[in-house]
Symmetry: D2
Subunit: 274 residues, 4 copies
C-alpha cells in the first residue's frame, strides 16, 4: 500500500508508522481504549452516576452528547452549554477526559474549550465546513463513518481535517445502512482490518449504534477487538428504559463492566498471537 | 393519509391542499418547472453562455454551485462570493431567478441576499443546524433527499425548516445509494408519487445526479414527468468534457433544449389524462 | 457500445438491430405490450373473471402464477398442474397467450407445453441450472432481474439462455432491494434506458413488485413507459383484499383499464417526440 | 425469544436447547469447527495437495466445489462427477468428511451419495425447490445466507428444509451486498449473535466470500470466533494466483494453518469468559 488512492496523494494513507492520539494519559492506538457514557447528558445526577460506573468498569474516556442530531425536530435536542458544564463536573469527579459531538461550525471553538475529544457524527461525515473547522483545532477529533459512506470517502473526510493541520484523527466504524432491519445498522467490521491496511490512523468501533440492540453489544465488542480495533465506544445508561434517546441500545454499568473485562481478555489473547 | 406519521403530527404531511412555492413569476407546484445550469460556476463567460442557453431552451430558473461539497479536499471547491457575483450578472442578463447551495450555517444569511432559492444538498439533508438556519429565512429552500435517507427521514428534515417558520420547501429526489454501479446513484422515482401522497410540498427530480450519465438524463426526465414530478433540475454545461465537476453527467444547451421540449410534451399528455 | 463487456463477447449486447419476441400475434419490442393477471391462480372462477377483465382493458397477454416462490413454507404455494389447466381454459376463453413462472428444472419441459412464455422469477435469476434448461426450449422466456443483481449480472443471466440457443429473452426490471421501506422494493427505472443502450433485447417493467403499493402502480407505469419500456406486467385481482398472495399490490380490472389507457396515451406522446 | 416470528410458529426458532450436527466424528455446534479447501476442485493433484495441507493445519472438514454457480456462462463451470470422484479420493487419503454444493434438484440424490454435507449456496437460498429436495435427505445441509437476504428470510429458508424432515441444518453467514466496493461483500457478523438468540441451529461464517480479499480473512476469522460463531469455512488453494475461480480470496495452506491456530486461541479465551 502506498500513499496514493485513485492517483491522489493522501496524508491519511499508510506510510512508515502508525499514528497514536494522546488524550490526557491515554494513548489511542496503543492497546485497547474503552470509551463509555450515555447517548445524551440528561442531568447532573444521571451523568455522575454513569461516569462513576464507567470509570469503575475500566473506561478511560467518558462520552456524552449535548447537541443531539435527531431525525425529528420534535425529539429531545440535548442540553447544550448546560450539558457541557455537567460533563465538566463529571470530569472533575472521575478524572476521565470527555468526548462530545459538535454539529455546527459556529460552536466548534467554544465547545472545544470544554471537551478533550471533539466528535463528528455519522450524519456530518461529509459536512465539509465542519471538517475544515475542526481541522484548525489542536484537539483530537473522533470521526465517525457515515452510514452510507465508502472507505474511500471516509479517508477523504479524514483528509479534510489533516489538511488543515490537525493530525489527531481517530476513525470510528459505527455501522452502515443496508436492507437488514433486525439490527439498526449493519456493523461493517471488515472496515477495521481494511482501514488498518490503508491508513496509519487509529480505528475504533461503536457497536451500540452499529447494532442498536443491547443483547448484541458485548459479542460485537469482542468481535471488534478480535478484528484488530484500537478501541470501543459504548452507550451506557443507569436506567436504559428511561433514557431520553437510544434506549434500545443502552447497557447498564454492570453490563458494561463485564464487556470491558471480557474485551480485555480477548485483546490479551490477540496480543499473544504470532 | 392524515397529518401524523409514527404518532408525530407533522406540518409537512398532506392536509387539505397542496403548497406551491413562488419564485419571481414562477410558481413551483403548478405545471412543470425546469431548472438548468452548471454544476459549478467556473467563470463569467461560462455562466453567461450557459444561462443564455438554458433560458432560450425554456428553463425558468438558473442553477449554479459556488460552494461545492467535494469528496476530496484536493478537488475544486467552488468560487464562493466571486461565483455569487457572477450569478447575479447572469440573472440580470437573462431574468432567470437563481438557485445555489449553501454548506455552512455562517453563510446562510449573506448568501441568501444573492440567491432566489437556497439549496440544501444531499450530504446536508441531516445537517440539522443548517436546516434550522434556513428555516429562519423568508426565501424558498430546495431540499435534496440524502443518498441514504428514507422518505420518513426526508419529511422530518423538511419539518425542521417548516417548524422554524419557513413554509416554502421544495423536495428534490436525486437518487439513492445502492449496490448498482452502472449508474452513479439509483434514481428512486417511486419517491415522487409516494411523496405526493404523503406531503403537500412540491416535488422535483434531479436526473443528473440520479443517473450520473448524460445518455440517461433525457429518458429519466421524461419518466420523472410521467411519475408526476412538479419539476426538473438539470446540469447543463457549454463544454461537458472540460467541466470542473460532474462532467459525465453534464449535457449541452442543445441536448437540454430537446429535453425541455420533450418533457413538456409528456407533461401535456399527462394533463389530458382522466 | 460494442458487443463486449469486461472483455467477454456477449450475444446479449447491442449489435446492429433490436430483437423483438413474437408471442402469438404480439411482437414484444415493437410498441407497448401490456401483460396483466393475478399473482396466483386461485380458482377457475377467479381466473376467468380476471382474464376477461384484463382482455377488455386491453392487455395482450395473461399472467398467472401456479408455482409460487414464497418466503415461508407455510404460505400458499400455488395450484401447480391444476392451475395450469385453469390457465389453459382462460386462454381458450379470451385468446390471450399465457405467461407463468417455473421454479424447478424438472418442470421446465412439461410446463412449457402449457404456457406461451416461461417466466424466470427474481429469486431464480442466478439459478443457472434453470437458465440453461429454459435455454434449450423454443419458447420465449421472461427473465426478471434479481432484487440484488447488477445490470452486468442480469445480462450474463440472459446470456446463459441465449448461449443454449434460445434467442427469445425478454428482460424485466422489477425493483431492487434497498434500505427504503415505504416501498416493497425500489423500482430502478434507469435500468430501462441503461439496458436499452447495452442490449438488443426487449425490456419491460413490473411496477407491481417494484413498488408493492397499489396507489403507486399507475404513476410508475406511466414513468416506465416514458423511460422507454417495451411493456408492463401488472398484478390484477378481482378482489384484492382477499388475494391469497401480494394483496397490497393488486389492482382491480377497473384500475387496470385506466392504467392501460393512460399508458397508451403516454406511449403515443413518446412516439411523437423528436 | 419464543418460537414464533411474525405470528408463524417456526421449528427453527430457539426452544429449550441448541442443535448440534454430527458429521463423522465432528459435532458442529460444539466447540469450533473449521472447514477448508479450494473454491473449485481443479484436478486430483491440486485437491490432494490442498486436502493434506488443510488436514495438517487442523481442519475437520474438506470443502470443494464441483458445480460452480458462475455469473458468466463463459467462466469455468466445475468438473461435476469427475470432481466428486476426486473429492472421494481426498477423503480416503485424509479421512476428512467432504462438503460440496449442489445447484440442481435433479442432482441432489446422487450427489448426496458422494458428500457428507450438502451445501446450498447464497444464490440458491431462496431456490425453494432445491430446499425441499435437500429437506428429504438424511444428510446435513450447510445453508448459506443469500447476499440480499434478511435474517427472517434466512430462517424461513432453513424452515423449508426442517419442514421436510431434515433436522441437520447449519447456517452460514457469508456477507451481504451493500454499496461498499472495497470488499466483495459486507460480512455481517452481527448476524452471528443475532441468529444465536433467534434459532437453535449452529451458525458458521465464511470470511472468504464475506471479504473477497486474502489480507482480511484472518482478522475476520478471529472476529467471527469472538462473535460466537460455531465454525469457519475458508477457501484454501495451493497456488492462489492460478486458481480457476476466486483467486483474490484464496489463502495458502500455510496462511490457513496460522489462521486455524490463532482462531483456536481466541476460542479458548472466549470459553474462559464469565
Amino acid at each position: 500500500m502506498n500513499n496514493t488512492y485513485r492517483n491522489v496523494k493522501l496524508a491519511s494513507l499508510m506510510g512508515s508508522e502508525r499514528t497514536t492520539v494522546r488524550v490526557g494519559d491515554v494513548e489511542i492506538g496503543r492497546g485497547l481504549t474503552v470509551i463509555g457514557g450515555p447517548c445524551s447528558v440528561e442531568s447532573e445526577e444521571q451523568l455522575l452516576e454513569i461516569a462513576t460506573g464507567v470509570k469503575k468498569a475500566g473506561a478511560e474516556l467518558l462520552r456524552g452528547g449535548v447537541f443531539k442530531p435527531r431525525t425529528s425536530p420534535y425529539s429531545f435536542q440535548g442540553l447544550g452549554l448546560k450539558g457541557l458544564k455537567i460533563m465538566e463536573k463529571a470530569k472533575e469527579a472521575t478524572g476521565l477526559p470527555i468526548v462530545s459531538e459538535v454539529l455546527d461550525t459556529r460552536d466548534v471553538r467554544w465547545v472545544s474549550d470544554y471537551v478533550d475529544v471533539i466528535q463528528i457524527g455519522a450524519r456530518n461525515m461529509q459536512n465539509f465546513s465542519l471538517l475544515k473547522e475542526v481541522g484548525k483545532l489542536r484537539k483530537p477529533v473522533l470521526l465517525k463513518r457515515g452510514m452510507q459512506s465508502t472507505l474511500e470517502e471516509f479517508l477523504n473526510s479524514a483528509e479534510y481535517i489533516l489538511k488543515e493541520g490537525n493530525p489527531d484523527v481517530i476513525l470510528c466504524e459505527r455501522g452502515i445502512r443496508t436492507f437488514e432491519t433486525y439490527t439498526r445498522n449493519t456493523l461493517d467490521l471488515s472496515a477495521v482490518p481494511a482501514l488498518k491496511e490503508l491508513t496509519h490512523l487509529p480505528v475504533i468501533v461503536d457497536p451500540s449504534h452499529g447494532t442498536g440492540r443491547a443483547s448484541l453489544i458485548e459479542p460485537m465488542s469482542l468481535a471488534s477487538v478480535a478484528s484488530g480495533a484500537d478501541g470501543l465506544i459504548i452507550e451506557v445508561h443507569n436506567d436504559p428504559p428511561r433514557a431520553l434517546s437510544d434506549k434500545d441500545q443502552a447497557i447498564t454499568p454492570e453490563q458494561f463492566s463485564k464487556l470491558v473485562k471480557n474485551s480485555r481478555v480477548v485483546r490479551s489473547a490477540l496480543e499473544g498471537l504470532t
